[in-house]
């Protein structure tokens, strides 16, 4: 849980300044320091970025009356529906979450590799 929250907080701040891929070094370092297992590294990283991106998207969409997320939904080929905006937000969270998950495991493995030396 600590790892999960740590990643959320640092990634949030990091992404205000840097491009989206800044989550990779953040997650690698956090998991390198704090992860107990490959599974927890993956889950904490995946879920942290997933929820961070999802909630931020939902926040932005709500204050926009979902104007843009509905249009992007149509662009992505979704058939029109009143929860399209949410679907778009869920889809939006996936690339980051997936990348973070693998980055998290990499961080954990990196520590294991060097700590056993």
């Amino acid at each position: 849980m600590f790892l999960f929250l740590l990643i959320i907080v640092i990634s949030f701040i990091g992404q205000l300044i840097f491009p989206w891929w800044i989550i990779i070094p953040i997650v690698v370092i956090c998991c390198g320091l704090k992860a107990d297992s490959a599974t927890s590294a993956f889950l904490s990283s995946f879920l942290a970025i997933f929820f961070l991106w999802l909630l931020t998207s939902i926040f932005l969409s709500l204050q926009n009356d979902h104007i843009l997320s509905n249009r992007v939904g149509e662009m992505l080929g979704l058939s029109s529906g009143s929860y399209n905006w949410l679907l778009v937000a869920l889809i939006s969270a996936l690339p980051g979450a997936l990348t973070a998950g693998f980055a998290g495991v990499s961080g954990f493995l990196l520590r294991k590799f060097f700590s056993n030396n």
Binding site: N64, L68, E74, P95
Partner: protein, 830 residues
């Protein structure tokens, strides 16, 4: 053990980097997913807070003084500057803030630079634009504009304003289309503004029929051409009323031209190898499509006692909206109207004293000259039977992620040889009507300073100011309608019209023959014009500017007269006109075409005893039709489908072959044939001797079959709005970014000339007076951002045929009705 761990580690790192790379790259048309979808810098950042009211105060050191921009409830800016430099700087700044991607993309389109951002698929389009001399023309225009200190100031200040906006833009703030296409905004240049004005010429004055006409001449001979493609229509209602005397003596010298350009190239046209590609082409049916309306009435016809003016330019509608509404205020200038995003000034609008509007003049300002090259090196060509040197322009077309393509275009004294032998692409439809080894002479290539026209109009106080402004205008020629508060009304078909012999340029011309060249122009002061005509109104709808007594040749074919005739008939009946009468006329769906031929056609069907029940119902609807293309009219769908089918059935066997490029006779000629030549052999289908009655009946049944096939057998589902499918697509056709289907009546030949997605791009009505009162609407909105509520907030008003009252401010006080926020641009902190 260690080895396995290493492999695992390397594998996970590889996957991580692989994913990062994948999600950061544009693959095919899929935007880079991580970059695009993340909520911190991706598209979510373009989702504007609908409640947000932006009050900004920014430092722009380029300014000479401070500027205040008030934003109204429609998101329209009202710019208040202390001097003209700052005024146009601020116009550039605020336009870029709302429309940057549109400005960038349209400029690239005009300049043949789309491949840089979308890759190889735009290569032929880019080549085409360059080979048609778009950049060449824009450069000539820019050079001329920079020679004029006033235009130079305006175009450079505007450009600086755009760049001031771009400079402070972070990737997070890029317009969404940059994120989808994955590229960055680049520095704006004055050439871009010139390119956008050239794009207007390309849209309105680049149509060319010469190749098709030459092919028809070669196949059928002069007699048929004169019969089916006459030089003046049967029905006309010209802009300058019939019988108006021309109050000038012919000052211009007679044009030097060979007596019959028609004959000189006739043999050439039969040499089919000249057009090796045409066998693969389907006939391009030139739609009689380019159109707009404008009119003004004198005070004695209006309820206010002052003139009223209206304009609605018809274009291929897109989102972001074609026009950008703006009010510009500085010492000695206070103007409101629509501007071209990317170009300074107001193009159509009004100020405290005058109002003006434009429609296109379809005069013949583009010709093709046959070029005989000495050899395949294209270094020399024959002119006046001596060898002249070509000049070369090497076009470097940069292509995204590929090597640049170098394209050499040869220029003769006439202009660029758009496609020399072996250069014309086989599968690029825009080039279908371009003859091979011909040089393009086009008015849009000549040096010009249209910017100055708009600047002068923006400031004009009266008729004199209007006339002075028009002198600077070359292309695309426009019918400038005018009214002022002193009570003057006027209309002028204005632009640079080459001085031509009758029919010169109806067919392909000979580049070798010096007497075939454009030598002079119609003197600007002798362009067709009228001031305060007796009938109390002026109007235009792209029809012929003049009757046949006008001493100069303008062209042989203009848009047909139906819209113009309807407008004039309605204006004639107006005696106490107000904004409502004008609004009704802009939305008028009455079909003069149906008035002319429906009775004849229906009568023919009534003699047919073998109608099935659907056909009988349809006939019944048509005979009782009020001839209005209303959105719920079923008869309108029937008539439209029927007429189009009939037109095709009459002409396709004669002019629709796939062997060479040809075109159909126009609507005026077709209507005349239907009404007055029932036994014409043109009704024959090949060797089958059909009569008019046969074809009318067959087309009626065929039309009904088509509608049944598309909309089912229940006639109630054939409502015109459903069949027409009006909508406004996105400029780059990005799904979800266009409008929904719109319920709008009208047809291309009704005053409300709305087809599927070509129609009124701006509706404006101005009531002149001590204080002008004006109304307007665009089918879209002020913002170019699909994530803004101002992206398409005007579209439902437009759909209903209504107009918004325009907020014409006198001062820059923030606390006035209709103003929601302000942006302050200051030179320095204090």
């Amino acid at each position: 053990m260690k080895g396995t761990r290493l492999i695992k580690l390397v594998a996970f790192i590889a996957i991580t980097f692989g994913l990062a790379f994948l999600f950061n790259s544009k693959i095919g048309d899929v935007p880079p997913l991580g970059k695009f979808l993340n909520p911190f810098t991706g598209f979510w950042q373009n989702a504007e807070d609908v409640e947000d009211i932006i009050n900004q105060s920014l430092i722009k050191s380029e300014l000479q003084d401070s500027v205040r921009i008030l934003i109204d409830e429609q998101g329209i800016p009202h710019v208040f500057a202390q001097n003209e430099h700052d005024l146009y700087f601020a116009q550039g700044y605020i336009t870029a803030k709302n429309r940057l991607w549109q400005m960038d993309f349209q400029t690239r389109y005009a300049a043949g630079r789309l491949s840089e951002v979308v890759g190889e698929k735009a290569l032929e389009l880019d080549r085409y634009q360059r080979r048609m001399g778009m950049v060449y023309g824009a450069e000539a225009m820019l050079k001329e504009s920079l020679n004029d200190p006033k235009s130079k100031l305006i175009i450079e200040a505007y450009s600086d304003g755009v760049n001031a906006y771009i400079k402070d833009l972070s990737p997070r703030e890029y317009p969404i289309e940059f994120k989808i296409l994955n590229y960055e905004p680049e520095e704006w240049t004055p050439l871009n503004s010139a390119l956008l004005l050239k794009l207007m010429s390309a849209t309105l004055a680049r149509g060319t029929n010469e190749l098709a006409m030459n092919n028809i001449l070669a196949k059928y001979g002069e007699e048929v051409v004169n019969d089916l493609f006459p030089n003046y229509p049967f029905k006309e209602d010209p802009i300058i009323p019939v019988g108006t005397p021309w109050d000038f003596d012919l000052k211009a010298p007679k044009p030097l031209i060979s007596p019959s350009p028609l004959i000189s190239l006739k043999n050439d046209a039969t040499r089919k190898e000249e057009w090796p590609l045409s066998s693969r082409l389907l006939t391009a049916i030139k739609e009689e499509n380019i159109g707009s309306n404008n009119w003004a009435i004198a005070g004695n016809r209006s309820s206010t006692g002052f003139p009223i003016l209206a304009n609605d330019p018809h274009l291929d509608l897109t989102l972001p909206s074609i026009w950008y509404q703006i009010q510009l205020h500085a010492p000695a200038i206070n103007v409101y109207g629509v501007s071209i995003p990317g170009a300074p000034n107001v193009i159509i609008g009004f100020n405290e004293n005058i109002a003006w509007g434009v429609t296109n003049v379809g005069s013949d300002v583009l010709d093709w000259y046959k070029i005989q090259f000495k050899d395949d090196t294209h270094q020399e060509y024959l002119y006046n039977n001596t060898w002249e040197k070509t000049s070369r322009r090497i076009e470097e077309i940069k292509i995204r992620r590929q090597k640049s393509v170098l394209d050499t275009v040869y220029y003769t004294r006439q202009g660029p040889v758009s496609y020399a032998k072996n250069q014309k692409p086989a599968d690029f439809s825009m080039a279908n009507n371009i003859p091979v080894d011909y040089a393009l002479k086009w008015v849009a290539h000549l040096p010009s300073n249209e910017l100055r026209t708009f600047y002068e109009l923006n400031k004009a106080k009266d008729y004199e100011g209007y006339k002075q402004a028009l002198v600077y205008f070359s292309a695309p020629a426009q019918n400038f309608v005018f009214a002022d508060r002193q009570g003057d009304i006027s209309i002028t078909s204005n632009g640079l019209f080459p001085l031509k012999e009758k029919r010169q340029g109806k067919f392909l011309l000979d580049g070798n023959d010096s007497t075939d060249q454009w030598i002079n122009r119609i003197p600007s002061e002798e362009n067709p014009t009228i001031k305060n005509p007796e009938r109390g109104y002026v109007s235009s709808a792209n029809q012929w500017p003049v009757d046949q007594s006008y001493p100069y040749y303008l062209g042989w074919e203009f848009s047909s007269y139906e819209r113009a005739h309807r407008i004039n008939t309605q204006l004639e009946a107006m005696h106490s006109a107000d904004v409502k009468s004008f609004e009704a006329l802009q939305n008028d769906n009455y079909s003069i075409l149906a008035e002319n031929i429906l009775d004849t056609l229906v009568h023919i069907i009534q003699t047919d005893k073998g109608l099935n029940s659907t056909e009988s119902k349809a006939l019944n609807l048509l005979s009782n039709w009020d001839r209005r293309y209303e959105v719920n009219s079923i008869a309108a769908s029937l008539f439209e489908t029927w007429y189009n089918t009939l037109n095709r059935m009459i002409w396709t066997d004669d002019f629709g072959g796939s062997e060479v490029l040809m075109r159909y006779p126009n609507r005026d000629r077709t209507v005349h044939l239907l009404l007055h030549e029932p036994t014409s052999h043109w009704f024959f289908n090949g060797s089958t001797k059909l009569t008019r009655e046969d074809i009318v009946q067959a087309s009626f049944k065929d039309a009904i079959k088509q509608l049944e096939k598309s909309y089912g057998s229940n006639l109630n589902n054939w409502e015109w709005g459903r069949v027409k499918k009006t909508h406004v697509p996105h400029l780059a056709d990005i799904g979800g970014f266009g409008s929904k289907a719109l319920q709008v009546g009208g047809s291309k030949h009704t005053v409300n000339a709305m087809s599927e997605s070509n129609g009124p791009s701006w509706r404006m009505i101005v009531l002149l007076g001590n204080k002008p009162k004006a109304f307007g609407v665009i089918p879209g909105g002020q913002s170019g951002n699909p994530g803004s509520k101002f992206y398409d907030n005007q579209i439902s008003t437009w759909e209903k045929g209504e107009l918004n009252e325009l907020l014409f401010l006198e001062d820059s006080n923030l606390n006035q009705k209709g103003i929601i926020s302000q942006i302050e641009l200051r030179k320095s902190k204090d």
